[in-house]
Subunit: 161 residues, 2 copies
């Protein structure tokens, strides 16, 4: 098992794909992605505080969360879910409120292999410029730190179970 | 003014962009895209009957419509809206129920120029295969026929106004 985050972003293509393995069964990893009280414990960089305003899964459900730093800067994100979330596919739109109107479509899949789970994400953007902006904003670093926090949360959940 | 449909689909990129001009002000064209009783009069190929099951615009709103042919074959489509629809940008997810789980993100913009309206659409898909499948299914032909029906509807609406 390797917990390295792999990021694929081809030049000229408005898409980013990532792969990351977690040492936990996929039911548990899926819960951490879809239950707001778990999601708020890991999503985003360590230095930011996470607050979930709204999180309604299900086709057409809305979500909104806010990351804030120690200086009081706030970064809001929002989107809607497409389809009933399942371990085979979690599909949602995504928009950073700091750049309103720039929307991506994010898909996450959860594949179990010998007790570990491979999470793949696929984000498609309205343009290559939007994709490049997202990658340039430190997307991979933020995901990486978030996923490290998720490793820790999964360990705790496995111990509690 | 040219009412030719231009379609851009670059090899290896999961995206299709189209441009089409309409001889009507953008308020009218936008209404035809967002009011179900107008939309049902033009969307899709001529040979198919259009029925709208559900059409709730607004962030998180659901839509679903069904195209059917004379032999009773039905083709359902569904998605959700992201953000409040505006003439600057109408954003929605799109899924053909015949290939469940394959979702695209569609954006339409409405630009007025000397009393005519340029409608641009931008669809991004989860993969190039999905994009190629959509293009291969006759997407451009269907759009073209739909847009010709929209030309006729817009003429009628302008006369009635």
């Amino acid at each position: 098992m390797s917990n390295e985050l792999k990021v694929t972003a081809e030049p000229g293509v408005p898409q980013v794909m990532t792969t990351r393995e977690f040492d936990a069964p996929r039911e548990l990893v899926f819960r951490a992605f879809t239950e707001p009280d778990l999601l708020m414990q890991w999503l985003g960089p360590r230095r930011l505080k996470m607050q979930i305003d709204r999180f309604e899964t299900g086709h057409g459900g809305n979500y909104r969360y806010v990351h804030s730093d120690d200086d009081g800067n706030e970064y809001g994100f929002r989107g809607v879910f497409h389809g009933e979330p399942s371990m085979d596919q979690l599909v949602q739109t995504f928009e950073w409120e700091g750049m309103p109107g720039h929307v991506s479509l994010d898909t996450a899949t959860f594949e179990e292999r010998d007790g570990t789970t491979i999470v793949r994400t696929n984000s498609v953007f309205q343009s290559v410029e939007d994709r490049d902006g997202m990658v340039g904003s430190g997307m991979a670093e933020g995901m990486n730190e978030g996923y490290e926090q998720l490793d820790e949360l999964l360990e705790k959940l496995k111990t509690d179970a």
